[in-house]
Each structure stands twice: as structure tokens, then as C-alpha cells.
Symmetry: C2
Subunit: 405 residues, 2 copies
């Protein structure tokens, strides 16, 4: 039969992300395209021990759980983790999700109707754009600079478009790696609060801060912590263990007003009943009852990722990149690099693929046409040798165009 | 701020399923309401060993995987499991999901636009109804009897409403426990094929067949196996390990035409990137490289569940139930019981709750107003003592009404 898909299913079918993944899987391609952490740093022995202990201890670990997720892990997040970041929230203000992307999707489903206007950074996360397009949102990019969103442009667009939501990642925006200044955080929050725009704040990369001196988070507080509204606040705070512990545990969270979390939990029940409570119990055991220390583990990741970033920055000093520009981020997983005038990211990708390397082309991160002159390079996953080889191939791919012109 | 939820979020907020769950969690209530397998039968030692082995063997087990799920488990399903049921499908025609409910939700999102008409059994699964309502479908119940859907009513409704999809569970329909006859299977398939109605066939309960003599499945083939269309077929076949191995692994699947599966996989990537590949690898190890035998394990479940069903049926012979009727199912997890004339399921629930027992009220399983005189009782989860106590409390709750009238 000829399948008659829904109207917005077509926004998914045209996704070039899929074809990049398919290409990458075909063997010996080096990927600078994805958002993967370095698997050689996973705490494998402690995870294996945690899994074995949790399963042996209690058959409930394999039973259905609650749509909201495993209670003790929600409490741990509220009491032991978020509080340290100035995020004050009760355990029942936390919903465990299948990674942070599901938190984004669930919020979109319960909050956005087709035609609703939604503000995003420019560039912004491909995951935001996919979920918003599927929901039929009208996506409006807000201009920014190295300090974060531009308050004038934000206010102007709020007044003109009356958006319902702003999606943002103030700490190491995917893909630009921008860390918003405190002043901008305050200005953005103030503009959204005064016009009742809900802020979806994705802090999945916030802990990957390579040079942080100040652990209290007072220099770069989350928008959630800045508002500190308790119930009825304007910020939904999203995070994940995917970048800090391991992605395959598929455990992210949304934290916020109990009313918002309650409706999202109902949507979660409808969507998949619940995420794996086995994985949630495993994480809780790791964090709570094993020698694993999450803060120390994150410090380890940051040392290694900081080194990889420096290596990539060194390699970008080669002649091929002389007409490219980028801002060196203080954290995150990505470099957002402009291409020389006239070189299109999609065309470069075809050439790079032939050479055996892939990256994320800019248009996947933009809601307007500004992305075609940019590429996103991931430095967290490739080991140093792979990074060197991958960047050699990238340099070759770029050179062939710049030499020609 | 006052949250401005999306139009269909309200279909979730009114869900009485949530309040039943909340009540059940508050301590000493016996639940005959849920869809839980018996946790005392989980293969815990083998699962603990599998988890430990899988995590220790390969850091990739903790890394991001593919939206489609772990390749070897998809191949195992295609080659070792589904083939034995007459379901011929290539590995890339299988999508791994977070339980069967996510397969239902993803198909709904990529196939159904608001206002599209969708056929369901009557009564039908609460999970179907929730996903369809969230998608804005117009839900049309089709009449059935002990043999399955009535072909005349089905054909009449196809012609009148031009539906896009039929959602059905021919083997042990949730909640009625009906096992469609072969004749009906053929008639329903034929009607849908001739009018290009896609069939979403949920076979999550199909293996829980207590008296099956014939393992080949030839007596009650799935609609998928009956059509055996390969690509472009009219049936999407859904199943799950939740009822046969353990729910907390959150591993279900959709199998069908590669075109359908491809679009659903793209939606899966948007919704949560992927389910836990750790859990999928753990399952694969259990099924492929451990002494665990899934067919033997299912036989063990069926002996125990068959015994619990008999016990429940015995307890329904008491005086309180003399004006109730039900059909004894040959499998599944539920009894669907009619209440005495004039007794409403919602009112009975309030009384039962006071006594310390809960069940699923019929209206959660019906798209029309036929459900209020029915209740769904689960016999798979409560142990024999709990079942006895729970049914004593139920009998009391019913007697108070029947004695009064």
C-alpha cells in the first residue's frame, strides 16, 4: 500500500542528520559530527558492579516503575546535585526522561500548538529545531553575540511575535559553545519574566566547563537559579547524565514547577509509560553507594576535553583555515567554525565524506539561512590520534576549494 | 506565571489513570489495576550476570547507539523469534522502542493528523486511546464478539468513515482477553487490505497463551503473518519483552515495511534519540549467550498465570458476583467483568479504594460510553495470597451495592 504519512512526518524524512549517520556507520569514516562523550573515560568497573548489585538486590529493579522516574534518584538530583548549583527544587519537581532530548520533546508536546511562535538562539541545537518543527511551531531566531542573546533583539521579537517559549542553552550553547555573561542572563530572564515567556533552559553541557575556578556556580548561574521562583516560575531546567556519566543509561531530567512537571509526566506516561527504572537505579547506586564521585569525574572529563580542544584549535591554525574564524569556547563539546567566503557547508561535506571524515553542516543548527557558511566540529569523542587524522582530512577537503578559488 | 498548555495537553491532565496510580502508591492498597508481570518470576541471576558481562566487555555498551536500536538484537528478533511465528521480516524492518507503548505513540505521530479517523476495538487498550487522543484522532469503536471484530460492522465503518488506521490486538485484546478466530483474522485483514487501511497489530500479550498446544502459531497467526506482504504491507506488528522478560528493560519493537520503520525511526531520533542500547545489549546477551531460554520461560509464566486466572475465576463464583458476567480468556493478563445493572465502575472504585483494593474502571478502555458497567481485573501480578485478599475486598465492595439495591 502507499503509506499516507501525517503532514509533519515530512519534516523528519528530509533530515540530513540521518544520512550523515548512515554514512558514518559505513566503516572507516572519522566522525567530528556527533555529540558523543569519550567512551574510554566511562567508569565501567563501577557501572558493572552497580548493575550486578542492583539487579541481584531487588526484583522491583526489573518491574515497571513510575512515569516520573525512580524516586531516590529524583531526590538525589534535588538534594545532592541541583542544590549545589543554586537550583532549589523539591524531588517531585523533577521528571526523569530518556535523555534531555525527550524532555525537550515532551515540553514541546504539552506546551506548543501548531502555529505558536517559539524563540531560539541562532545558531541553536538541532534537537530543538527537530522537536519544534514536528510540533508545527513557528521558529524565530534571536540574534546573539559572544555574551549571549542580544536583549534588544529579544525584546523586540517578544513584542512583535508574542512567543510562548524561548529555548536556550546559556552555558555552552550547542553548537556555538557560547557561555552567556551574567549580565545577559539577567537581562534575558527579566525580558521573559515581564512578558510571561516560558524559558526552556538546557544545561546539558553546563558542567563541561574547562576552566571553571568557581564551583558554586555564582558566576554563571542558570536562569532557573537566577529566578529562583519556586512554583509558577518561568524556567524549565533540563539536564542529563549522558555527557557526564554515560549516554546509554538514557537518563536526563526536567526540573521546574510541579504543575509543568505534572503535565509532562502525564505526557511521558502516554509516550512510553516511563524510562528504564533499572538504569535509574543503577545510576542512583553509582552516585550514592559506590566510590564514584561525580564532581571528580567531571573534573577528569574537563581536563581531557580541554586538551582535545586545544589540539583541535592548533590544527585550525593551518593554512587551509586561514579564512575561517571561530571563538574558542571555555567548555562544551563543539567548535563552530565559519568557512571561507563562497564555500558551502553541504558541498564541503560531500568532499569530506569522500576523504573519510564527517562534520555537522551549519544549516542543521539554524532556523534561517545563516548556517550554510558554518560547520560544527566535535572535539570530545575522537581520541588525539583520530582528531589529528580527522583534521588532516578536513584541511585537505577545505584546501581543495580554497586552492581552486 | 500562568502556564498556557497546548490544546491537547488537556486530554492528558484529566487522565484518571494517574490518580489510580497515585492512590496505589500510598501504601497498603492491593492493585488489580495495572499491567504488571509477576516479578518473582524474573530471571534475576541471569540478568545480573548479563549486565555485568555486557558492561565489562565493551565501553560501546554505554555509548550512544542508533535510533533504530542495537543491530544484533534486531537481527535476533527477525531471525530467531519472529520467523518462528511466521513473521518474515528483515532486521532493518525492526525498530526497537521504549516498550510497545512508544511504538504506538511513534506510529500515531508519523501517521495521524488531527481529525483523521482511526478504528479501535471496543473495549480497547487505554494506551491506544491516550496516544490517539493526544494526536487529535477521531476514534471510532468497532463492534466485536468472542471471535473478534465483527466484519460487517468493520466494513460498514470503513466505507462510512474512511479511516486511515485500525488499532487492534487480536491475541488477548487488552482488556477483554479475546483471542480472535482464524476466520475473523482473515476477514478483518481482507477488509483492511481492500480499502488500504493500515493495521497496527499489538501482539504484546500473544505469547501469554495458557493452553497453546501448537507452537507454530498456525492456528492463530498474526495479521502480519497472514498477509505476509514483505514491503508495502498493511500491517505494522508491535511486540515487547516487557511481559515476557522484564518491563524495566523498556524494550519493545515495531516491525514492518522498511518505509514505515524508517519514518518511525526518524521520529524516534527526534523524540529521544534512542532507547537504552545498554538494556538492548543486556537482553541480547541473555537471549543469545546465556542459559536462558525464552520459550521455556514463557511456558513457566503461562503455567503460573493460568493458575492465577483459575483462582480469580473461582473467587468470582461468590455471591457478590452473581449478576456479573465475563468470558474466561485463554491468555493475557486480564479479566473483563461486567457489573450488576446499575452499578457504575467509577462509584465502585471509590468504595474499593476505601477498602484497600483498586481495579481499572471500564471507561478507560472505551471510546464510547459503554465502559461504565465494566471493570478490568489483573491476575498476573498479585501473588495467590494477595489475589485472595484483593478479591475478598472486591467482593465486599460489590456486595455493599448489590445488597442495598
Amino acid at each position: 500500500m502507499k503509506y499516507d504519512f501525517s503532514a509533519r512526518a515530512h519534516t523528519l524524512m528530509s533530515s540530513p542528520l540521518l544520512s550523515i549517520r548512515t554514512q558514518t556507520r559505513r566503516g572507516s569514516v572519522i566522525s567530528l559530527a556527533e555529540e558523543l562523550p569519550a567512551e574510554e573515560l566511562f567508569p565501567l568497573p563501577l557501572l558493572a558492579e552497580a548493575a550486578s548489585t542492583v539487579i541481584s538486590a531487588d526484583a522491583q529493579a526489573l518491574q515497571y516503575g513510575d512515569p516520573e522516574g525512580y524516586g531516590p534518584l529524583r531526590e538525589w538530583l534535588a538534594d545532592d546535585w541541583l542544590k549545589g548549583k543554586g537550583v532549589h527544587i523539591p524531588g517531585d519537581g523533577v521528571l526523569l526522561t530518556t535523555g534531555s532530548q525527550q524532555a525537550v520533546d515532551l515540553l514541546s508536546r504539552v506546551y506548543i500548538d501548531p502555529g505558536d511562535r517559539v524563540l531560539v538562539e541562532n545558531p541553536t541545537s538541532p534537537g530543538f529545531l527537530q522537536a519544534l518543527r514536528m510540533q508545527g511551531a513557528v521558529i524565530i531566531p534571536v540574534q546573539g553575540d559572544r555574551e549571549g542573546l542580544l536583549p534588544e533583539d529579544l525584546r523586540e521579537k517578544i513584542v512583535r511575535h508574542r512567543p510562548k517559549v524561548l529555548f536556550a542553552a546559556p552555558s555552552f550553547t550547542n553548537p556555538s559553545g557560547i557561555l552567556w555573561s551574567l549580565k545577559r542572563r539577567k537581562e534575558v530572564l527579566e525580558a521573559c519574566v515581564s512578558h510571561d515567556v516560558l524559558i526552556v533552559e538546557d544545561d546539558s553541557y553546563g558542567d563541561l566547563h574547562f576552566k571553571r575556578q568557581d564551583r558554586s556556580g555564582s558566576k554563571y548561574p542558570s536562569l532557573y537559579a537566577l529566578e529562583d521562583a519556586g512554583e509558577d516560575g518561568h524556567v524549565l531546567y533540563i539536564g542529563s547524565f549522558s555527557k557526564t556519566v554515560a549516554p546509554a543509561l538514557r537518563t536526563g531530567w526536567a526540573a521546574g514547577s510541579r504543575e509543568l512537571i505534572g503535565v509532562m509526566a502525564a505526557a511521558k506516561g502516554m509516550a512510553d509509560w516511563q524510562s528504564s527504572s533499572l538504569n535509574q537505579r543503577l545510576l542512583y547506586h553509582l552516585l550514592h553507594a559506590s566510590p564514584f564521585n561525580l564532581r571528580e569525574h567531571i573534573a577528569l572529563l574537563n581536563r581531557e576535553y580541554g586538551t582535545r580542544l586545544k589540539l583541535m584549535a592548533e590544527l585550525l591554525k593551518r593554512a587551509a583555515w586561514k579564512d575561517s574564524t571561530y571563538d574558542l569556547p571555555a567548555g562544551g563539546m563543539f567548535l563552530w567554525v565559519s568557512l571561507p567566503e563562497g564555500l558551502d557547508a553541504g558541498i564541503l561535506l560531500k568532499n569530506a565524506l569522500r576523504k573519510g571524515v564527517v562534520f555537522l553542516p551549519g544549516p542543521l543548527c539554524t532556523a534561517d539561512d545563516s548556517g550554510s557558511r558554518y560547520i560544527r566540529l566535535n572535539f570530545s569523542h575522537p581520541g588525539r590520534d583520530e582528531l589529528l587524522l580527522g583534521m588532516n582530512l578536513m584541511s585537505e577537503a577545505v584546501s581543495e576549494f580554497t586552492a581552486r578559488s
